[in-house]
C-alpha cells in the first residue's frame, strides 16, 4: 500500500471537531436568503432635484458627457442636439422638458459639480436616444407591490403623466417612469 492509500481512509475517518460541527450545523440551520421572484430591475438616476427610475433593459449605456451640437431648427422643443457616442451620432433629448421638471427645479440642482453628470443612452425597439442626467445611482431591484401610486396631483393631470408610481429608496422617493409612453412621446416630439 502506498502512503496515499493509507492516509486517505484515515483522513475520512477522523473525528470531526466540535467547532467544525457547530459551524456546519449553523450553516444548514440558517434561514435561507430566498430571492424573491417577479422583481424588477431599474436604473435610478437624478435630474435636478428629482430621483427617477427607468427599467434596466432599456438603458443601454451610461457614459460621460460629451459635446452636444445644437440644431438650428427651433421646432424641436425637446431636442437638445446631436451627441457622438462611440462613433454614432445620437439624438440627445431634454428629459426635464417632457417631464416638466425645468420649471419645478430651475437653479436648484443640489450638486452643482459637473463631475457626476452623465449621459444616459436608452434603446427601445431599435430606436436610440440619449439624455443628460445630473447623477446616476445605479441598479435597484424592487417588487411591483412596493410601487406606490403617484400623488393624485400628478396622476389626475390630463397631460404628461409619465410616472407609473413611486418607490421608497433609502430616504428618498423615486419616480418610476413609464418607458413605453415616455419613448412614444419623445419619438413623436422629434418629428
Amino acid at each position: 500500500m502506498t502512503e496515499n492509500q493509507i492516509s486517505a481512509p484515515r483522513l475520512l475517518d477522523r473525528e470531526v471537531s466540535e467547532e467544525s460541527l457547530r459551524e456546519s450545523t449553523a450553516h444548514v440551520a440558517a434561514k435561507k436568503n430566498i430571492v424573491e421572484l417577479g422583481t424588477k430591475s431599474v436604473v435610478i438616476f437624478r435630474i435636478a432635484t428629482e430621483w427617477l427610475a427607468l427599467p434596466t433593459d432599456v438603458v443601454q449605456e451610461i457614459s460621460d458627457l460629451c459635446t452636444v451640437r445644437k440644431l438650428p431648427d427651433h421646432r424641436h422643443g425637446i431636442l437638445k442636439g446631436l451627441a457622438n457616442v462611440r462613433g454614432d451620432l445620437l439624438l440627445c433629448v431634454a428629459l426635464e422638458v417632457i417631464l416638466g421638471l425645468e420649471k419645478a427645479a430651475s437653479g436648484q440642482d443640489i450638486s452643482p459639480s459637473t463631475a457626476v453628470r452623465r449621459l444616459m443612452i436608452c434603446r427601445r425597439r431599435n430606436a436610440r436616444l440619449a439624455f443628460e442626467v445630473s447623477e446616476v445611482h445605479g441598479l435597484h431591484r424592487y417588487h411591483p407591490r412596493e410601487l406606490r401610486s403617484a400623488p393624485a396631483t400628478l396622476a389626475k393631470a390630463a397631460e404628461g403623466v409619465y410616472t407609473l408610481g413611486v418607490l421608497a429608496w433609502k430616504d428618498k422617493i423615486v419616480g418610476c417612469l413609464d418607458d413605453e409612453l415616455l419613448f412614444y412621446s419623445l419619438n413623436k416630439g422629434l418629428a
Partner: protein, 767 residues
C-alpha cells in the same frame, strides 16, 4: 412605422429570403442567357445557370411555391440537356427562358394570401411556358443561330469608325463579354445590412479619433521629460552651490543617490516615450487603414449597378426592330453604393435614348456602310479622383442643324444667335426640361422628359454631364461624378459660436473684407465682387441663431448662389478646410431646415453640414421679408390647438386615411394610430377629446383598448366610438359592454354617419 426596420436576416421571413434568392439567381440566369446569346458555345454559362435554376427549385419547394418549383425544374432540365449537347439553346429558346425568369420573379412577388388564386389564374400561362420549353420543335434550331452570328462577325470589323474609341479597346471587345460572371466568381460577395456597415463605419471613425488622442498625450509626456531634466540640473546645481567644506559624507552620498535616481527616471521615461511613440505610429496607421478599408466597403463594382441593362437593351432594341449590342467596360470599377443606386435610372435613360434616337434602323445602317448591328458602349473608370461613366453609341449622332432650328422654333433663342453657337453650347439645350427633337412620342423615349432628369440627378450627386456628338458616327454622354458620397471636402466655419461645414463645391468664394468696403443701399448692405454687387446677409439670422458675429475690422464672408443671384453670407470666422465623413441625420427628425447631414470633427465632436440649396432658399425668404409668414404659421398652430382633437385607431391604412379625411373635412384635428398599443400610448398623452377605433387589430384589439381606457380614472368619460366591419348583434354588444359610446359599421363612411356621431358626442370642431 419606424419600428419596422430590418436589423438582421434573422428577422426576415422565409418568403423574404426566397425573394432575395430569386433576385440574385434571376440575375445569374439573365446574365447567363444573354451571354449565351452572344456566345452560344460558352459552357460555363450553362453550368452556372443550371445551378441557379436548381437552387431556385429547392428554395421554392421550402416556401411551397409549386408554380416556381415547376418552372425552375423545367429550366434546369433544359440547361442539363444543353450541357449534354442534346439540345441547342436557340435565340427563340432564350426568349422563352427569359420569360421563365420573369415568371419566377412574379411568383416571388405574390403574397401568401393571394398565392392560391394567383396560381389558378396563371395556370394556363405556366402550362404554356412548360410546354413551349419541352416542345420538340425547339430542340434544334440552327437557322436562328446563323442569323445571330452573322452580324456579330461584321460588327467587330465595323467598330473602327466610332470616334472616341481608343485602339486598345478593340481586342477587349472581341473577348467573350462575360465579365460579370467571371468577376462574381473571383471575389466572394457577402450580404451585409446597411445598418451594420454604418455602425462599423462609426466605430472605425471613432478608433481614428481615439488614435489621435495619443499624440497629445505624448506631447504631455515630453513636457514631463523636460521637467525631469530640470530636476536633474537643479540637483547638479545644488551640489555645486554647497561649499566644499560643508559637504559631509552623508549629504554627499544622498546627493549622489538623488542624482542617480533622477537619471534613472529620465532613462525610463525616455524609453517609455519611445515605446509610446512607436505604438502611436502603429495605432494611427492601423486605425486609418481600418477606416479606409471600411469606407471601401461602401464601394461596389460597377457591374452590380448595371445588371438589368443587357436585358433591357436587348428588349428595347427588339421592340424597335433594331439589333443593338451593349458593350460594357470597367465592370470592376468600384463605385460608391449610393451613387450606383442613384445612377440606375439616368443610365437606363441614356441607354434607351441611345437605342431609340442614336442607333439607326438596320437597313439604314447598312446603307451608310456600317454594320447592321448597332453598338452602345457603357464604360466606367476612375480618372483624376473622379468617376467617369460614358454612354456612347455608334449611331447617326445629333443633327446639329435640326437642333439649331428646333431651338429657334421653340423660341429658346433667335436663329441668328443659334447660328453663332458652338456645338457644345447648342447640345446643352438637350438638357432643358421638356425639350425634345423627336416629332413622335414613343414608349421608349421622345417625351422630352429625361435628359434634364439625368442632369438633375448628376448635379445632385455633385457631378456634371458632358455631351459630344459626331454627325454620322455617334453621340457620347460623359458623366463626371465624385468617387464617393460619404466623403466630402468642406469648409468649416463658425456661426454664432458653433461650427458648421459647407460643401466646398458649393462655395463660390470665401473672403475677408475690410469693414469700410461694405456699402449700403436702402439699408441693405452689400459689397462689390468682380463688378457685381453682392448683398450681405448675416448667417446667424438666416439660421435663426442668437449671437451676432464679432465686430472685427474685417468681415468673414462666404459667397454662395449661382450666376442669377449671389449672396454674401457673413459668418463669425473661418475654421479651415476639412474632409468629412457624411452621416445621415436620424430619420425621426424628418427634414431639418438648412441642414443636410452631420459629421464628426477630428476631436470627436459633431458638426452639422449645411444644405446649401435650402440655405439659399432661406436667404431668399429672409431678404424678401417672408419671415413674416412664420408668425402667421404660429397663429395656425394656435388655431389647431383650439380645435377639437380626435384620435383614429385602425390598422388599415385605407380606413385610417378615409376616417382622417372625413373628420378633417369636418374641421377636427385628427391624429392616427396604427394599432391598439400605439392608440393607447396616444390616448395617454391626454390630448384627445374623442377616440375612434377599429376592433380587429394586431398587438392590442379595440375592445382591449377600450377596457384600458375605461379602467383609467383620467379617461373614464372620454368618448369612444367603435367603427368595425363586424355587424352582428353579439359583436355590437361586446363593444357596448366594454364601454363604447357608439358602435358603427364601416358602411357609415358613405352617409357621413361618422361625422354626425362625432359632432353629437363632442360638438363641432371649434365649439
Amino acid at each position: 412605422m419606424s419600428r419596422i426596420s430590418v436589423e438582421s436576416f434573422g428577422d426576415l421571413s422565409m418568403l423574404d429570403l426566397f425573394r432575395m434568392e430569386v433576385v440574385t439567381q434571376s440575375t445569374v440566369l439573365t446574365e447567363g442567357l444573354l451571354g449565351l446569346e452572344r456566345d452560344p458555345d460558352s459552357t460555363e454559362n450553362l453550368e452556372e445557370m443550371m445551378r441557379a435554376a436548381h437552387s431556385l427549385k429547392g428554395a421554392a419547394r421550402i416556401v411551397g411555391r409549386q408554380a416556381a418549383v415547376r418552372v425552375a425544374h423545367a429550366m434546369e432540365d433544359c440547361f442539363v440537356a444543353a450541357q449534354q449537347k442534346k439540345r441547342t439553346i436557340s435565340s427563340a429558346l432564350i426568349d422563352t427562358l427569359l420569360a421563365g425568369v420573369d415568371l419566377l420573379n412574379r411568383v416571388a412577388e405574390v403574397s401568401d394570401d393571394t398565392l392560391a388564386s394567383w396560381e389558378t389564374d396563371q395556370n394556363n400561362q405556366i402550362e404554356a411556358f412548360l410546354s413551349s420549353l419541352s416542345s420538340p420543335a425547339e430542340t434544334v434550331a440552327p437557322a436562328t443561330r446563323i442569323s445571330l452570328d452573322q452580324p456579330r462577325v461584321i460588327s467587330e470589323q465595323a467598330l473602327e469608325p466610332v470616334g472616341q474609341r481608343s485602339p486598345e479597346s478593340i481586342p477587349e471587345a472581341k473577348a467573350p463579354p462575360n465579365g460579370t460572371t467571371g468577376a462574381a466568381g473571383s471575389d466572394r460577395v457577402l450580404r451585409v445590412t446597411a445598418d451594420n456597415l454604418t455602425s462599423l463605419m462609426g466605430l472605425a471613425g471613432e478608433a481614428l479619433v481615439a488614435s489621435r488622442w495619443l499624440d497629445g498625450f505624448a506631447a504631455d509626456l515630453l513636457r514631463l521629460k523636460r521637467l525631469q531634466l530640470q530636476l536633474g540640473q537643479t540637483l547638479e546645481g545644488l551640489r555645486d552651490s554647497i561649499p566644499a567644506g560643508m559637504l559631509d559624507e552623508r549629504t554627499s552620498g544622498r546627493l549622489v543617490e538623488a542624482r542617480e535616481r533622477a537619471a534613472s527616471c529620465q532613462r525610463s521615461l525616455a524609453e517609455r516615450l519611445a515605446d509610446l511613440e512607436s505604438f502611436d505610429r502603429r495605432f494611427v496607421n492601423f486605425s486609418s487603414r481600418l477606416y479606409h478599408e471600411v469606407l471601401d466597403c461602401r464601394m461596389r463594382p460597377f457591374a452590380d449597378g448595371i445588371q438589368g441593362f443587357r436585358r433591357m437593351v436587348r428588349d428595347v432594341a427588339q421592340s424597335l426592330g433594331k439589333t443593338v449590342r451593349l458593350e460594357v467596360k470597367g465592370e470592376a470599377t468600384p463605385v460608391d453604393r449610393d451613387i450606383l443606386e442613384r445612377l440606375k435610372a439616368p443610365l437606363g435613360h441614356l441607354l434607351r435614348n441611345a437605342i431609340d434616337h442614336g442607333i439607326e434602323a438596320p437597313n439604314e445602317r447598312i446603307g451608310r456602310g456600317k454594320s447592321g448591328e448597332g453598338t452602345v458602349h457603357l464604360q466606367a473608370c476612375h480618372s483624376a479622383g473622379m468617376l467617369l461613366i460614358t454612354v456612347a453609341d455608334d449611331g447617326e449622332g445629333v443633327d446639329l442643324e435640326a437642333l439649331r432650328s428646333a431651338v429657334a422654333r421653340k423660341n429658346l433663342t433667335t436663329l441668328d444667335t443659334a447660328k453663332k453657337m458652338t456645338d457644345t453650347e447648342l447640345l446643352e439645350f438637350l438638357f432643358l426640361p421638356g425639350f425634345t427633337m423627336k416629332e413622335s412620342v414613343s414608349d421608349i423615349s421622345g417625351r422630352g422628359v429625361g435628359l434634364d432628369v439625368v442632369q438633375t440627378t448628376v448635379k445632385e450627386l455633385g457631378g456634371r454631364v458632358r455631351i459630344s456628338s459626331k454627325s454620322g458616327s455617334g453621340t457620347r454622354f460623359q458623366l463626371e461624378l465624385p468617387l464617393t458620397l460619404s466623403l466630402i471636402r468642406t469648409l468649416l466655419v463658425e456661426i454664432a459660436g458653433e461650427p458648421y461645414a459647407i460643401p466646398l463645391a458649393r462655395v463660390h468664394r470665401a473672403l475677408k473684407l475690410p469693414r469700410e468696403r461694405i456699402e449700403s443701399v436702402q439699408g441693405r448692405q452689400h459689397f462689390s465682387l468682380h463688378e457685381m454687387q453682392v448683398g450681405l446677409v448675416a448667417a446667424h439670422q438666416v439660421l435663426d441663431l442668437n449671437g451676432p458675429p464679432p465686430a472685427d475690422s474685417e468681415v468673414s464672408i462666404l459667397v454662395l448662389g449661382d450666376k442669377t443671384a449671389r449672396y454674401g453670407l457673413v459668418i463669425d470666422r473661418f475654421l479651415g478646410e476639412r474632409e468629412l465623413v457624411v452621416r445621415t441625420l436620424d430619420p425621426r427628425l424628418g427634414k431639418v431646415k438648412n441642414i443636410s447631414s452631420a459629421a464628426l470633427m477630428p476631436d470627436g465632436s459633431p458638426v452639422l453640414i449645411i444644405d446649401v440649396d435650402d440655405l439659399t432658399r432661406s436667404i431668399e425668404n429672409l431678404v424678401s421679408g417672408q419671415h413674416l409668414s412664420r408668425i402667421g404659421s404660429e397663429k395656425d398652430i394656435a388655431a389647431t390647438r383650439k380645435k377639437k382633437r380626435v384620435l383614429v385607431v385602425d390598422d388599415s391604412l385605407t380606413v385610417r386615411e378615409l376616417e382622417r379625411k372625413l373628420l378633417d373635412n369636418g374641421g377636427y384635428h385628427v391624429d392616427v394610430a396604427v394599432d391598439g398599443v400605439d392608440g393607447w400610448n396616444a390616448v395617454r398623452t391626454g390630448q384627445y377629446d374623442l377616440v375612434v377605433t377599429d376592433v380587429d387589430m394586431p398587438r392590442l384589439d379595440g375592445i382591449e383598448l377600450l377596457k384600458l381606457i375605461r379602467q383609467d380614472s383620467r379617461f373614464k368619460s372620454l368618448p369612444v366610438t367603435i367603427v368595425s366591419y363586424k355587424d352582428r348583434p353579439e359583436d355590437r354588444n361586446r363593444g357596448m359592454e366594454a364601454g363604447a359610446d357608439y358602435y358603427l359599421t364601416k358602411a357609415s363612411f358613405h352617409d357621413e354617419t361618422l361625422l354626425r356621431v362625432v359632432t353629437d358626442l363632442i360638438g363641432t370642431a371649434d365649439s
